[in-house]
């Protein structure tokens, strides 16, 4: 059905009134791969994720996700994908177990198998001692871990992660990276990751796309992008592509 391609877009576009959020995106993401989507704030990354996860209708072009059309088969896309939103939309008055049970029920999971899954996931993420505390008492990193768990709970074929490590400490970031790698290699799960963390993307992603002002400007493996731009690492290459290098005199000019 999908010929090993999980995401396929052709001239995918989205406008909000006169604002162009995404311009003619052509993209293919292979099954079981980890795709990194980089770009400055407001570049259109979250808009792309929302279109591809069936939350938002495109203004133009076409796209299929796991073989389903983003315009006409949105419920089918939702049943085979998982989404980690940019900021935590948790229920403050539920515990981690209750919240995951709720997400499981929304995705048609229940019973013993769901509870086993919740217990194991919370154990892996180091939340086993706090699983019955209300989420209002969690730190932002702990909330993010619960959200990561909620995203993979129903074993989706494709996972969209919007800034998955922005609130995590280094140890938790490594843990999330290992979970992603294990799921991609062992279960053939595809990951589409929006991030600002270039080192995280360089370590983890096989293919990287850099989006700037709604346009996909660069696409390739991290080492290819570094070579093409003549940078030292991905951060250097990224700054050369999107612009962001400022000289020291400019940085101190506000003092005059």
């Amino acid at each position: 059905m999908s010929n090993g391609i999980q995401i396929q877009t052709e001239s995918l576009s989205k406008n909000f009134g006169s604002v162009v959020a995404l311009k003619k995106l052509d993209l293919s993401v292979r099954k079981g791969s980890v795709f990194g989507y980089l770009g400055p704030n407001g570049a259109g990354k979250t808009t792309t994720v929302r279109i591809l996860s069936g939350l938002l209708k495109p203004s133009g072009g076409s796209a299929t996700v796991c073989g389903y059309d983003v315009r006409t088969q949105r419920n089918a896309i939702k049943s085979v994908t998982g989404l980690l939103p940019e900021s935590p939309g948790l229920y403050s008055k539920l515990s981690a177990v209750e919240f995951l049970e709720f997400i499981g029920a929304l995705n048609n999971l229940s019973g013993e198998s769901l509870h086993n899954r919740i217990d194991r996931l919370l154990g892996i993420l180091g939340l086993e001692g706090r699983q019955n505390d209300l989420l209002e008492s969690y730190s932002s990193g702990m909330k993010q871990k619960v959200l990561v768990a909620s995203t993979v709970l129903h074993e989706p074929e494709l996972v969209f992660l919007d800034e998955p490590t922005s609130r995590l400490d280094p140890a938790a970031s490594v843990l999330v990276r290992e979970i992603i790698l294990a799921m991609a290699r062992e279960t053939d799960t595809t990951f589409f990751i929006c991030t600002h963390m270039t080192d995280f993307a360089e370590d983890l992603c096989e293919i990287i796309g850099i989006l700037n002002e709604g346009v996909l400007t660069t696409l390739g493996a991290p080492n290819e992008i570094i070579e093409q731009t003549g940078g030292n690492d991905l951060e250097d290459a990224y700054l050369k592509i999107v612009g962001g290098e400022i000289d020291r005199d400019t940085l101190l000019s506000w003092r005059q």
Binding site: L83, P85, L90, L94
Partner: protein, 548 residues
Amino acid sequence: MVRVWWAIAKAEFLVRTSKLHRSRKILYPAVIGIALTFGLVVIPRILGYFLARTGSAFEMILATSFPGFLRTIMMVLWMFILIVPISNSLENVKIGQWEILFSNNVKTRDLLFGTFVGRIPVYGIFVIALGPIVVSPFVYAYNVSIIGQLLMYLVIFVFAVVTIWLSTVFSTAIHAKIGSSPRGDDIGKALSWAIVPLVAVPAMGSMYWMNSVVSLFNLDASMILPSTWSADILTWIAMYTGSLRPSSILNLELYWFAVSPIVDMLLLGIFSATVLFLGFKSADRLFAYGASPGSQKVARAGPENLFIRGVRKVFGGRFGTIIATSFKDYTRKLQNIAKLSYGLFLAFLIPLLIGFGPFATIVDDPIFLPVMASLMTGLMLGIFSGVIFGGVGLLDSRDQLWILKSAPNGVPKFITARVVSYMMVGIPYAMLPALFTGLLLNFALNEILLTVAFVYSIVLGGIFVGVGITACNPSYQDTSSGAFVINTIASIVIMMICVIASIIPGVMVAINQGVFAPALTIASVPAPLIGLIILMVGMIRLTLMEAD
């Protein structure tokens, strides 16, 4: 160099008037102008018009009973100025900005004083508009001179400023106590609702039981209230700067004044000085945030009770889980419990007012009282349930909506479960006041059951309307947003129309046929039906809604 307290006062003023935004320089003076016109022109003319038409006998009564009336009015005004700022500030408990201020070496006294000064221009508007309600009747009845009027306004001004200071100190203390707790925002919102009945009781008392309240207030007990001291000072100024005969002054003094006005002035002076002194003295303690032992307390989810287990069993695995989590999420929020309690409090007042208030003596009809009490209880609970079950309770944030939308048919599943859980919460919410009404007014058992069913049907209408409107235009947790204000007004207006559409056929049957049961049965139908249509529209709109 800018004084620190002045900068804080300016920031507080800008925050309080943020709705005026860019047009603040034009709109704020315009609001002051409107308040002044209302207070100094509109109120005196309206009162003068009505007082002139009531005749000399009433004027006589007015002249002799004014001191008691003024004590009630001043108490309501005092409560209003004291509680409204506290209630407003508790709607949004945040102490993060304190950290910024203290890191900039701001003294706690400057912070407290600046916050207080910043509030004066805002809450002062209410004083400008409401002050003349106190002064104008005296001007008319006692013929008070211009100097007397100015003195009266001065007393009101001093009293209002001291009260605003007191409310600033109280709200700061509460913020410091709960602000650092993860539950602080929820507790603050709950308190902002719980504090309102303190205003409602004297306000309703003054409206319905004026005579008894006034006579009650003549007792020595009322003398402990600062509002009574200031009311008596106002009376005293009005008497001695007006054109009352010496014999009338003597009569008033003998009848109303338990202590000399000099004592009142001393008491008010000591009270004001003490409040100001203690406020400044306690500034360091008030701003010692994060020190409360409760701030580190972690709330845990306990084992599920019999009711939740029953819900899971009745509704089955997945749907039962969504209903159970929705029920837990709603009932664990203190603000929801406070709103429900407030609605119940108002609903319990209805049969009391109808059975023992002015209506009871005017109309002595075996059908009128039960029908009226049931309809009014339904009206009160119904209108309120639109706000309690809609508004900010439905969705906490836009990201929560994304999580729901990312599941197949997530929104319809969630909204259905939310409505079912609200319908369960609505059972005791409707049943308790309906039972109270029936038992208090000696209804027969079948009439009590009918009343319960009628009130519940109106509450169902309120739930459907509240959820439907909020689903059409989600306001999330932001009570200051335009969406929240529009939703609240729309819910109230639609529920009023629904309830009126329900009541009219019921009342017609009650009047024409003089029967209780068919009247309530017919009145039970329209509200839930109209509500259901709005709910369906809301659910479809939320399902189709996209990002902006």
